[in-house]
């Protein structure tokens, strides 16, 4: 890995400022039903169709916890190398909003289910550890729709009561790039674990971003602002850049930074104060009297630990050792579990290095172009392995392989069939090639004489003729060798 130096600072007139960022990520737990009720969590249902009397806070309803959501939180905690707390408590976080029918959110305050952990990031300047402060379980709120009616807000409670994991980082992040790497890593770990689908478009992963700035070298933190509910990595990065610059300007003009909640306006690309949230920080937490403390048996935690899949960091190390990939290749190929599975299947049936190159080149380009996930790839891992094997064995050239690849995408046929039916096999028989080359040379005596007289550029012309005559199927390496030999003679 190249040893670039970390260099993200905001340059003010009075010096350089370091940006300090902490994230509160809200990750929707993958479960069939909600945290405290039996309503479905499926995305995209008709409005208010997945709402029970509990989710809509009818009086007298009792919440009962979904055991799978608890397990999912423990799995995620283990994946973040975190301490799992055998004892945790659910609290009520009180605030008023139209999409929160209970008037409080059931969350965990003093005693979260998961304590401190860590996440490793691969940055161009080396590996960096980001501390996790805690992870707790809480309910999601409903959705307010403001643009369907000029004077009213419409409320859909389908999301109300779905389990969220709030993952709070330490203020260890220092740049928008690190935020990008951190979110992607969290997402990747949770997708491996199957605890969150990480789908940012559907709101399964969103974050509150805490930003402060301080003079380079300063040990104390500056006053922070919290930017609420940002739902894409790009917007997080833009919001951080804007907010850091705003804070530096305030400091340089001798003004104070108010600790406040801000909103990122994606149309204007700026953050602005959310005055309506001024009182909102007065949450008056207290233990929810409807819910007893959550006690976890150590055996349950140990069993979940044993059943965890191989996670990206471990898999990366293994890929580097087992498949002799470089760090970059390994990082890309373990980024999604489905990608790593595909790669392993291909590598086992063909050539590990060539498989990596072709996957990261042509296959990813095609998937990207068609907007497809690898799980929806029109080329199966088995067929892709056959293609790689055909290149490796010299049966087809790299150039022909690209053509075969295109046909595979269109037809879904296996490469063997395509190569045979279209007669695309590489011509690698030295005798055949020699015969063909002799023929070309005798037809172009004038050029041969010129070449021999020193016009060596003509070599390319001869190669071109061979390719033309063979329909691009002549083995390029062999063609070069034979041409050189015959032209010397």
């Amino acid at each position: 890995m190249s040893k670039e130096k970390f260099d993200y600072f905001i340059k003010g007139e009075k010096g350089k400022y370091e940006v300090v960022i902490g994230l509160e990520v809200h990750a929707q737990v993958l479960s069939k039903s909600k945290l405290f009720s039996g309503s479905s969590t499926k995305f995209g249902a008709d409005p208010n169709d997945q709402v029970s009397l509990i989710d809509s806070a009818f009086p007298g309803m009792l919440p009962v916890i979904n055991e799978e959501c608890v397990k999912q939180a423990v799995r995620t905690g283990l994946g973040l190398n975190a301490k799992i707390n055998n004892y945790s408590v659910f609290d009520r976080k009180n605030y008023f909003y139209a999409d929160l029918p209970q008037g409080y959110q059931i969350s965990q305050y003093k005693n979260p289910i998961v304590g401190e952990g860590k996440v490793l990031l691969d940055m161009p300047y080396g590996s960096k550890e980001i501390g996790i402060e805690r992870l707790h379980l809480e309910q999601d709120a409903g959705k307010s729709i403001h643009d369907m009616d000029p004077s009213n807000t419409y409320v859909d409670l389908n999301r109300s009561g779905i389990a969220l994991m709030e993952i709070v980082s330490k203020p260890d992040l220092r740049s928008p790039d690190e935020v990008n790497a951190y979110i992607k890593k969290l997402r990747s770990i949770m997708r491996y674990l199957g605890t969150c689908d990480g789908n940012m478009q559907e709101g399964s992963l969103r974050a509150d971003v805490n930003v402060s700035v301080r003079k380079e070298g300063d040990k104390n933190f500056g006053t922070r602002c919290e930017i609420k509910n940002v739902n894409s990595i790009k917007f997080m990065q833009m919001a951080i850049e804007y907010e850091a610059a705003r804070q530096v300007e305030l400091i340089e003009n001798g003004k104070e930074i108010d600790q406040e909640t801000r909103l990122f306006d994606t149309k204007k690309n700026e953050t602005r104060s959310m005055r309506s949230k001024e009182d909102a920080h007065d949450y008056r937490y207290f233990p929810d009297p409807d819910l007893l403390p959550l006690k976890l048996e150590q055996k349950l935690i140990d069993d979940l630990k044993k059943s965890l899949p191989e996670l990206p960091d471990k898999k990366k190390e293994r890929f580097i050792k087992e498949y002799e990939l470089n760090v970059y290749e390994a990082n890309v190929l373990v980024s999604e579990k489905e990608i790593s599975d595909y790669y392993e299947e291909v590598a086992k049936l063909s050539d590990k290095k060539l498989a990596a190159t072709w996957m990261m080149g042509d296959l990813f380009a095609m998937l990207n172009d068609k907007g497809l996930d690898i799980s929806k790839s029109p080329i199966s891992a088995k067929h892709f392995a056959e293609l790689v094997q055909s290149i490796k064995s010299g049966e087809i050239s790299g150039r022909i392989a690209k053509e075969v690849f295109e046909i595979m995408v269109e037809s879904g046929d296996n490469p063997k069939k395509i190569i045979e039916s279209k007669g695309m096999k590489q011509q690698s028989d030295p005798k055949e090639l020699e015969k063909m080359i002799n023929e070309i040379l005798s037809k172009n005596k004038d050029k041969v004489d010129q070449y021999k007289a020193g016009k060596e550029k003509l070599f390319g012309f001869f190669v071109g003729q061979v390719m033309k005559l063979s329909g691009g199927k002549a083995n390029p390496q062999l063609t070069n060798e034979i041409l050189k030999k015959l032209l010397k003679g």
């Binding site: 039903s33 997945q50 029970s52 979904n66 008023f96 009213n152 807000t153």
Partner: protein, 95 residues
């Protein structure tokens, strides 16, 4: 700890309880005497006592992850003061 009139108004606002201005004085007096009573508890040394979150010495009851509820939109919306076929309708709240 004592409560002043401003604190009383603030708490009332947070709880969305409308308090008659004329009643603020007597409310402040009442709540302060309640607080004073509760504060007697501080005379006890509780350094080594864990906070009690429940009087039942049991763990939380849980349920399996199954879909067993929902699809009762009509019933749910019945209690909405304003509504349409699909949504709760409330006065505009915009940031």
């Amino acid at each position: 700890m004592s409560l002043d009139k401003e604190k009383i108004k603030h708490v009332a606002k947070l709880a969305r309880i409308s308090v008659d201005e004329a009643k603020v004085d007597s409310l402040t007096k009442d709540l302060n005497s309640i607080f004073k009573f509760i504060e007697q508890l501080n005379e006890l040394n509780t350094d080594k006592v864990e906070p009690l979150t429940s009087i039942l010495n049991q763990s939380l009851r849980s349920r399996k992850d199954e879909i067993s509820d929902g699809k009762i939109r009509e019933k749910i919306l019945k209690n909405s003061p304003k509504k349409n076929e699909e949504f709760f309708v409330v006065p505009k709240v915009v940031e």
